[in-house]
Symmetry: C2
Subunit: 149 residues, 2 copies
């Protein structure tokens, strides 16, 4: 599987928002950019995709920023990925140039089934699952160096 940078950055940014919204009220692009080493300009292009999909909400102007539009446990990975790049979980279809009967048969066994597998799996994972993992390891990464002092 190949995953685009847009999807990767989008997921990481979203996890960052999820983790930091409680303490920062709204999360600014600049902060995500610094914490996650993603260009702010690039984020400005990616976050609107999540907003249009109703996953995050934005506040414009000074003191503005982003928050989740609902609880992280109610946001599925499938939804996130779809918002960022609909082709990842979307159905593949064979090109038109081939005999429709043949491609229909193959399609059913091959790509439709595969897309469905991915989608089903992504539907079972929530943003809070992802953020939980992230949080766990952030704590680890902070405490671990202590052992070496």
């Amino acid at each position: 599987m190949k995953i685009s940078s847009k999807v990767e950055c989008g997921i990481i940014a979203l996890v960052d928002i999820c983790v930091n919204a409680p303490t920062e009220n709204v999360v600014k692009v600049v902060n995500i950019s610094q914490r996650q080493s993603i260009s702010a300009k690039y984020l400005e292009q990616i976050l609107p995709l999540l907003r249009h999909a109703g996953i995050i909400r934005s506040v414009k102007g000074a003191k503005g920023g982003y928050t989740l539009s609902r609880s992280a446990s109610k946001i599925t990975l499938a939804e996130i990925i779809d918002a960022l790049d609909s082709s990842v979980l979307g159905q593949v279809s064979f090109e038109e140039k081939w005999d429709p009967l043949v491609t229909e048969a193959l399609d059913d066994t091959l790509w439709s089934r595969m897309s469905a597998l991915l989608r089903d799996h992504a539907h079972k994972i929530s943003l809070s699952d992802l953020a939980g993992k992230y949080n766990g390891l952030v704590e680890d990464s902070i405490s671990e160096p202590m052992y070496y002092i």
Copy 2:
């Protein structure tokens, strides 16, 4: 899911070889090209991938062509796809620029599991499954017009 033309053409060509090898002894690129409307030159680039993977065998020179290197029921879809484009079922990994601890956590939940789902599924399907579907529909498409006479 996005699937490249190379993978599509490769699978269709392979099914063609599987179906026609019994009657043609060895299957020539020109014949596949005509039946499946794929440029012969393009096929000449794709079929060697399947040959290097040990899926088909070739006979050079006049009266040459391609055959399967073993029974179609012993050739898995996973093998075929890997031969044509290893990135489809291969593991995605997050880019290096991010905190390895974070990406490791997300990676595990996200892409590794997804790649594994695809691979497991593709491993359960054999070329004979695909060719069977194809054959069934080819028969249908031949007999169906008869109803309208």
